[in-house]
Symmetry: C2
Subunit: 120 residues, 2 copies
DNA sequence: TAACAATATACCGCTTGAAGTATATTCCTT
DNA sequence: AAGGAATATACTTCAAGCGGTATATTGTTA
């Protein structure tokens, strides 16, 4: 109902480096927690909590697939969220860490898919 | 040196309603603290502290003019800041509170200028 | 220099969030 | 049903931020 509440909530989600890295990777494709662990090199609990934070505020969606939880960016997005996700992508293009994450994702995509039985 | 540090710092600045209102008004023109008090209807200390927060992180610049401090958006902006300020403007267009602030600023501009001796 | 106006800062109490450790949940497999 | 794998949650500690009250700073004017 109050547009600015949602906007602030978006910005709150964006002011943590781990969450930015998660969103950056999700912009490529849906991923499950174990993939984030592999890609970010961060402990499971940290990733899980940040994903829960994002999910609670509607910045990601989750769907269970057997043992795995597949996280994705929401298909339906508010104008504010859509604009800020685009802006984030724009800002992040030049950034070493985020580019590395993407490179790692693409380089290891096949290996990850082969070694892990989850569908994402 | 570390691009993502600055980006996160920008998002930290943007996740408070008062600061968003300040930035929204500064997008129109430079303003001093007393004008913000008048326009937002918030106590001086609150406005002053949020402006200090923004200034410390480079989202606004300040210049003393006699008794007054004139705050403005920085002339030179990093690409990240520039993109996010534009995105914010875009997001805020539809929002009642922010539109009201702008309306109030424009409607009272002449009165403010006439009644207050500060240069902004 | 004294008084005043505009603004900034110090301090306090409260809340939120981040990371870590431990444990719980959920689903699959045997 | 039991064990295991993937993920989530509870709890703790610590730091940061917000709002309020009081006070300090800085510059102007009489």
């Amino acid at each position: 109902m109050n547009g600015d509440v949602e906007l602030i909530s978006i910005y709150e989600c964006l002011c943590d480096q781990t969450r930015l890295r998660l969103l950056n990777l999700l912009n490529v494709r849906p991923l499950c927690v174990c993939h984030f662990q592999e890609l970010l090199g961060e402990p499971q609990v940290k990733i899980s909590k940040h994903l829960a934070y994002l999910r609670k505020r509607g910045l990601v969606e989750a769907e269970r697939d057997g043992n795995w939880m597949i996280y994705r960016l929401p298909k339906k997005r508010s104008p504010e969220l859509d604009k800020n996700l685009r802006c984030l992508q724009d800002c992040v293009q030049e950034n070493r860490i985020f580019k590395q994450d993407i490179t790692k994702l693409k380089r290891r995509s096949k290996a990850i898919e082969a070694s892990s039985p989850c569908g994402c």
